[in-house]
């Protein structure tokens, strides 16, 4: 169990990431706030919770764990974390989506700390399968993590990859679904029958863990110890989240998939984030 101090530290980091994300998007006038906020706590748990094995000073260190942000549109939150950890200068965040900046609206691997080009959905899990399979073939002990959206799970390719991972018993592959229940223009349940999501992944041959994606105790209980897992199956962590988490008027509100707050609205959003409980 993480200590109270750890939880406090992670909560503070999550608040910082959300504020910085909002600053980036407000400055650029574009971005994907809703999805970035729904997966912020997952990213913070991975990067600050002692989960990922990384070396910011050597981004291509062969022994690093591989993390793929398959829902590439949520990159703003990840950019803030990578800058904070020293993968690239903080000043680059201020130039997000500006001419000459390395940080675009979807992440690509020209950015230190980013493993794969993503943005079109349904690619990351397959790429993750390849990395995990390569580790198996090479006898390497790195783990591969893939963060997907639940809307992304509408892509057929995701399920092709799910079957492949199960067939090859890629126990070194950990996928996480940011399960905020929404896609761009609708609630998922109004688009397609994605639920019961956990049962689907189980039926596809995965171990499945369901967690509260905004609770660090819950997240770390699923993420801690994955390196010592004895199961032969790949692991799916379904993280129940809220789109736009942290700003009440954005939460579970479709318009904030890629809406950008301005003026008074932006001020209210910053106030809400600063008031989040740490």
């Amino acid at each position: 169990m993480p200590t109270d101090n750890t939880i406090l530290f992670l909560s503070q980091k999550a608040m910082d990431v959300r504020i910085q994300t909002l600053e980036m998007i407000a400055r650029a006038g574009k971005g994907h706030i809703g999805g970035a906020f729904s997966c912020t706590d997952i990213l913070v748990a991975l990067y600050y919770g002692g989960v990922l094995r990384l070396n910011p000073h050597q981004p291509d260190w062969p022994g690093r764990d591989r993390f793929i942000l398959s829902k590439g549109h949520s990159c703003e939150a990840l950019y803030c974390i990578l800058a904070d950890q020293g993968f690239f200068p903080q000043t680059e965040l201020m130039r997000y989506q500006q001419p000459g900046c390395i940080l675009g609206g979807h992440s690509d691997r020209s950015i230190p700390g980013i493993e794969a080009d993503t943005g079109s959905l349904g690619h990351g899990l397959g790429v993750g399968c390849g990395l995990a399979l390569a580790a198996r073939l090479d006898g390497a002990d790195y783990l591969t993590y893939v963060l997907m959206g639940d809307g992304e799970c509408c892509e057929g390719a995701v399920w092709e990859s799910a079957m492949f991972a199960a067939r090859h018993q890629l126990r070194n592959l950990i996928a996480i679904v940011d399960n905020n229940g929404m896609c761009v223009t609708d609630r998922l349940e109004d688009c397609t029958a994605l639920d019961p999501l956990a049962e689907k992944w189980k039926a596809f041959g995965w171990d499945v863990s369901e967690v509260d994606g905004h609770n660090f105790n819950s997240l770390l209980s699923a993420l801690t110890g994955v390196r010592e897992r004895t199961s032969a199956r790949p692991l799916m962590i379904i993280a129940k989240t809220v789109k736009g988490k942290g700003v009440p008027f954005m939460e579970s509100c479709l318009e904030w998939h890629h809406g950008v707050p301005k003026g008074e609205q932006a001020a209210r959003a910053f106030d809400a984030l600063r008031g989040m409980k740490c």
Binding site: D117, G130, L137
Partner: protein, 323 residues
């Protein structure tokens, strides 16, 4: 150099070009254990020993081409050179976006091998025909495309693909095609080769159509037309300067390909001319913009679309007389 196996088969009367490819891939996989082969449930006789002898380098991913491309990308990111294989439309168009993003955007050494160039799958219909792949694949930044025309060149395409650091597409034939190349001197680095000399016009062909071009040349020689034949086996990147020189120094140019007339070899060559500000008499012979629903052999389909050697010769002759 010819390898012993292919030498023996050639002297015995021919070698299946698909076997030439997979036999060479087998040798390569034995030399480099980082060579991985993935198939979307397509087999070949010559693949059986690969699967048997290199089980850790052979994966049948099932009928799941999109995943195959993405998995190959992940393997390549970890240092593997991956050959992925299926029927042309399935391994190119079905998973085009994965090829664009996972392979080309990230410039990864994954080699897309498609069997069934043009209408090779004849009676199987438009779902299995490959008449758009050249046009589509050549628009992808960073993609290299080979369309080999005989066994030796097909064999060489394995090493050419392997040695190239980025993605490659190989458009594969099958069956025993007549020998065009006696040796691999030069290593097929030029991207094209002159196979026959002629002074009245030049046919620039690719793939199986190189053989039609040679046969058409023989027919046209009987009416006094002297025809040069070039095999453009690397469709991207084209050897633009050398091909432009050829086009500028030939009285007439004919392009000949088993692909839609939109976007293929002919289009590529015309773009080269246009970009150089050159006007040359140019006759583009390719497939019409439509779905081929002639459910019969490749040879019959060629005759139906007037792309067999006799019709090619007649159309070229008519063109030379009317222009």
């Amino acid at each position: 150099m010819l390898t012993k196996g292919i030498e023996n088969k050639l002297s015995a009367g021919g070698v299946d070009v698909r076997d030439a490819f997979f036999d060479e891939l087998y040798r390569l996989a034995g030399e480099d254990r980082n060579v991985i082969f993935m198939t979307a449930d397509m087999g070949a006789f010559s693949l059986q020993r690969f699967k048997q002898d290199f089980p850790k380098q052979y994966f049948n991913v099932g009928v799941a081409e999109q995943n195959m491309v993405s998995v190959a990308a992940g393997l390549a990111m970890a240092g593997k050179t991956v050959f992925i294989y299926s029927i042309v439309p399935f391994v190119t168009l079905r998973c085009l976006e994965q090829i664009k993003i996972d392979l080309c955007c990230m410039n990864l050494p994954v080699k897309v091998v498609g069997i069934g160039a043009g209408v090779m799958y004849g009676g199987d219909g438009p779902t299995h025909h490959a008449l758009q792949d050249i046009a589509v694949m050549r628009t992808l930044p960073g993609m290299t495309i080979y369309n080999p025309s005989d066994a030796l060149l097909t064999q060489a395409s394995v090493r050419l693909a392997y040695e190239h650091p980025g993605p490659v597409y190989v458009r594969l034939e099958k069956g025993c095609l007549p020998v065009l190349y006696e040796d691999a001197a030069g290593g097929f680095r030029e991207g094209f080769a002159q196979l026959r000399a002629g002074k009245d016009l030049s046919i620039l062909a690719t793939g199986l159509m190189v053989h039609q071009a040679i046969a058409a040349k023989e027919i046209l020689s009987r009416v006094g037309l002297s025809v040069a034949v070039f095999d453009v086996y690397r469709l991207k990147p084209l050897n633009e300067q050398a091909l432009l020189d050829i086009m500028l120094h030939s009285p007439r140019i004919v392009s000949l390909e088993e692909n839609s007339r939109i976007g293929g070899l002919g289009s590529s060559l015309i773009e080269v001319c246009a970009d150089a500000g050159c006007r040359v008499p140019f006759f583009r012979m390719a497939w019409p913009d439509g779905h081929c629903r002639e459910f019969c052999s490749r040879e019959h389909i060629h005759r139906h679309y007037q792309m067999d050697a006799r019709n090619v010769a007649e159309k070229i002759l008519a063109w030379t007389r009317n222009t």
